[in-house]
Subunit: 383 residues, 4 copies
């Protein structure tokens, strides 16, 4: 293994769910050394969290500006940074990282609005640095296989996609009960203009675009708020048109009582269809008009899987990998990509990049516009 | 058992799929005696089909008018009629049956347009005769249980319903290959102004209304035709608003390659949710915000099921009943209902009646209007 | 349709579960006319039950001897008889029926011991009459397909079978609570020397033999009684050797708390394997060493199914058929078979015959011997 | 987080599947620092493998003796060792580690025979050092929950367990094709006297004992070799008796064509039953005699899970964890346990210890004896 990439952390302290996931993802394949961090906007909390996760105390910082400055002076300073803050604190550290020559892994969504998104996109293109958004589902081997399968043409001309992401955890007004995850996501100042559709709808859209290889260019949306007193949407139904001629629907919800995190997609071409569900992440179901349904199982031993897929599998079939491994695939793909760039080589990658990040923002913005204007067809910004 | 009801058949000859199902449904519980019929609009084919299914040749007729006239003269003439013809031959025989004092079982949809529907509704009300539409899914015990469960309030206030009915069999233009089922369904003259949404969307809507106890009063629809050269819709996405405050979505399709007949519904209240899928018709899944998901299994031995449900179950759990039994439940419920009326008694029933039939027509009409006008919110006629 | 076969009933009155199933099976396809019966060994109860199911009162008899005698005198007398009595009342009516020239459908097991079984087998051979045992699972289309598939050699040389039949309903001593089904099955006088293995183990063995085309010739059995105070077995584990070289295991139980009726089989050859489960009776899973698992779906529209299978399917895929239809397949196959014989023709059939009935008895007897002698390998009688 | 434990590796080089898993498990939660290793018995291969996984070259050794000696001289020498060699190289390094004061994590089975096992057991007791066997399935949260649930008495008195572990990968003689995993497992010199039952049967038995809290004390076994020319068993059926009165069956196989790694267990008490399957590792199914089946879902957000379970969960429900996480749970539990011991505290643990390791050996030995003597009941050594 080539030398591990030196990683700094921004956000993801103590009581963050996703912060811990990022660290596990970074550790799993041994591709990163976690060296430094600013774990909270509160300096004391940052210290405490930093020590708790085993960082040397002199490399736990009070602000990201401080971290970039200090680390730049060290021979063994951080080479990449992982940004795991609420949405409104994405733009600032991402920009400074790029300006400091640091490769960036950042939680989705990219930032708060299209203006910020355009700036970041430009900066990435100018600097040539690595920039990955952790759209988790792009890291699942079965998703990589599905993409390969669609590209191969085996399903024929794509006609329709149905992507569903039902959750139930915001069915009650738990943001009033000091539930941290709920508090910032339902707060327009920290989350932006959308809760449900921006938070999980964006995953659904990325999944559909990623597998189909087509881009959403028009939406007709109905964003709803079911829970009384909440100001942002907690449910959304969005009709989709894609630039390759495919049509579709996204159903996303955070008030679907009893649902966990069951993202699922069905994609239909004129020769066949496929199903993937997060609840059964190691299977890919193919169905045909004239022969039996097939169940592809993910595993390093399955010669029928594409090479691309098998590069992101750690175990033989029947040894379930899951969410953390998918997350780690993004981290590992990013490390390989950055390392290749430094060696002057090219390396295909399996993660959402800054263009996907921009698109995620644009689709959310279009859906908000559509919904506000009474559910009318609305174009998605492409520049 | 009280004496079997004497039944006449209209339509459903030789090469009809649903005709054979109606006859099995009538026979299964021994509640009917199939006595007479006009099996085809072609008199010779009618004769041939009639003999094939074992009718005495003097009671196989060349037209329904002839049948009603001849049977009225017999002491053992038919008491009820089962109408299993393409949509454009519903109104005529249904009207004449009612005018002849004959109870009517009729395939859905009720007829071709709301004008016909209003007339039939009025006639049923005037005559007081029995009138059942074979919306098959109303006959599944798990659906009856779901309805009971919602009515009990256990799911809390209903918020949202997602009902999906994906099929794949019209993914190719098989109506050009002389496939009889496809030919009439895709022909505006015989099917009316909609193929997919009228054919199976109507089942989806009836299921949602039946379980929730709420009625659709507005729709926003996008009806699509994916297969080139076809004139009616083969796919539909319809947003729904219900009179009880629930919202929802119906996704129905006949071009979803590889799908069979997997009608499924998810219904969410503020205390819990439920799932039912035709592919697993003997289970009802209940899910809660604070305790484990529960799987209700249909079976006469399950004391936790409602009495209403158990009246329509023939076997202990683990002995799967299915489509034909659900169909038979409608027939049997109708027989009990008719018999009760004749005895001057009342009997609750588990089948769609003429009002449901009217509603089915009205929702389809509203969806067509919405779609034609560019997917705008459209009211559903209620009178 | 050729003229319906005139059927008499023995047993299956009022409170019998299986009696009602037999009648539905006889009615479903219109192949039988139920004409006469002796519904109970108690003449009054027989009368009452007979009227309840709609028999004319002069053809409800007080004993089977009486029925055979009276019906023989009528021009429209019964042609076939269906015997649905507890095990100890199988031999008598079956023998008399055969001697009276009546074709016989009989519930399994064939009778009480191998002596009786040999006699009946001889009588069937001598008379040439039709004789079917309602080993229900032989009537499932997926089982017919599995048999065809094994015979085709696609799985390679068969190595191993695992057949499981777990139920939970005898987990408590409900025979003390006047539960009729439990009472006779746990009573050595009425059930014979085995409860669980004879009742459901026999289904498991028949399924394994039927699909594999091989016959059990040795067993090593452990029959258990888990519920205190019960005298017959309520659970059995039986190792199997087959005459074609296959080995296997049968796990059957009636004390597996919470289980319904989930008979399932896995069969492994050196090229592939198959799974069928009663809980998912319309699917057959094929699995291979080198390519994706396949799901065969039962339906008249599936051209990949064998012709033999499709002859026993009434609906397109996605319209679930189940237990009653499987039972009806046996009845209908028997009717076709009997009709063919009368026409001097041959007709392959899909039901267990008297030889299978004999084998069912022989395997149970061998298992009892093995278990009583401390679980030693024991030969199965073949003559 | 307390300081990471310094870990040395023995075995698990380059082409080892399980070696990579051990390292990921050690890294995932940041509880270990992998410092040194002897990756192969071949010194050059050890070097190459060591560098590949990022070890400093001066801490990659040529033999385990060398490693223990060298590391003992360093202030930052290894504190624990992970032994991932074929079975015949378990005893040697384990013994020397214990004698060197090093805590031991070791792949199962413990060693080659009961003599070695007794020695190691004694040494662990004498030294008081930590000693964990990576019986992976003990690390699954759903298994921990199942154990808790059984202990709570909710299932009533345990009656029966059925544990099944079907694999298909040894269905062909791949040991002749230079497949490394197959070569040593089918070779008596390296694997011991059993292939299938020792390799995966031991997992099945450990799972049954772990969840039930009862110990196997008698077995009746049939070990089979299906693939011609193979000298060890590739399939086993074993009847079980437990010291707490429960009975059961283990079905394990490596020639079940098309099976992956689908370990599953069903456990029945007189009040209810449970099902767990590796293919659905994040669910636990509970079933009852009088109320609906329940599905427990594993996730940190599920308050209905036991505290013990939630300590080993990293994500909310719907974010699947799997094989690597279960493995990591064993590593992490071991780290906490060792750290507690060093702090003079006690810490309950979720891994198989040396006693379980001994028992695993004893059951395999008894099964071999039983099978060799013609499948007779055989006692399991308990000392």
């Amino acid at each position: 293994m080539a030398k591990a990439l030196r990683l700094g952390l921004i956000g993801g302290g103590d009581d963050s769910f996703i912060g811990a996931i990022h660290r596990m993802a970074a550790r799993l394949d041994g591709e990163y050394e976690i060296c430094a961090g600013v774990l909270s906007s509160n300096p004391e909390k940052s210290k405490r969290s930093g020590e708790k996760i085993g960082l040397p105390s002199d490399r736990v910082y009070g602000s990201y500006q401080e971290m970039f400055a200090a680390e730049a002076k060290r021979a063994d300073g951080i080479q990449a940074v992982s940004i795991v803050t609420p949405n409104h604190v994405h733009y600032g550290p991402a920009k400074l990282a790029l300006e400091s020559g640091i490769d960036v892994i950042i939680d989705k969504p990219l930032c708060l609005d299209l203006g910020e998104a355009r700036e970041l996109r430009e900066l990435v293109q100018k600097t040539g640095l690595g920039f990955a958004l952790t759209y988790t589902y792009a890291g699942y081997p079965a998703v990589i296989e599905a993409k390969d399968l669609v590209a191969s043409g085996r399903l024929g001309k794509l006609r329709k996609v149905v992507v569903q992401y039902p959750q139930g955890w915001l069915g009650e007004k738990i943001e009033d009960q000091n539930q941290k995850q709920a508090s910032w996501r339902t707060d327009p100042k920290r989350a932006g203009a959308s809760c449900c559709f921006a938070d999980i709808g964006s995953h659904a859209i990325q999944l559909a675009e990623n597998i189909s290889g087509q881009r959403v260019n028009q939406v007709l949306a109905e964003l709803q708020t079911y829970v009384p007193g909440r100001s942002l949407d907690d449910d959304a139904t969005v009709l989709l048109r894609f630039d390759g001629g495919m049509k579709g629907v996204a159903l996303v919800s955070q008030i679907s009582s009893g649902e966990g995190n069951a993202l699922k997609i069905a994609l239909y071409g004129d020769k066949g269809g496929l199903h993937w569900s997060h609840d059964n992440n190691n299977q890919l179901i193919l169905q045909w008009t004239d022969r039996p349904r097939e169940i592809l199982e993910i595993g390093g031993d399955k010669a029928y899987l594409s090479e691309a897929t098998r590069r992101f599998v750690r175990t033989p079939s029947g040894h379930p990998e899951g969410y953390i491994e998918a997350f780690a695939n993004i981290y590992t793909s990013f490390a390989r990509h950055v390392r290749a760039r430094r060696a002057g080589e090219k390396q295909p990658y399996e993660f959402a990049d800054v263009h996907d990040g921009f698109r995620g923002m644009a689709v959310v913005e279009a859906a908000l516009t559509s919904s506000n204007e009474g559910s009318v067809w609305t174009k998605v910004a492409d520049k």
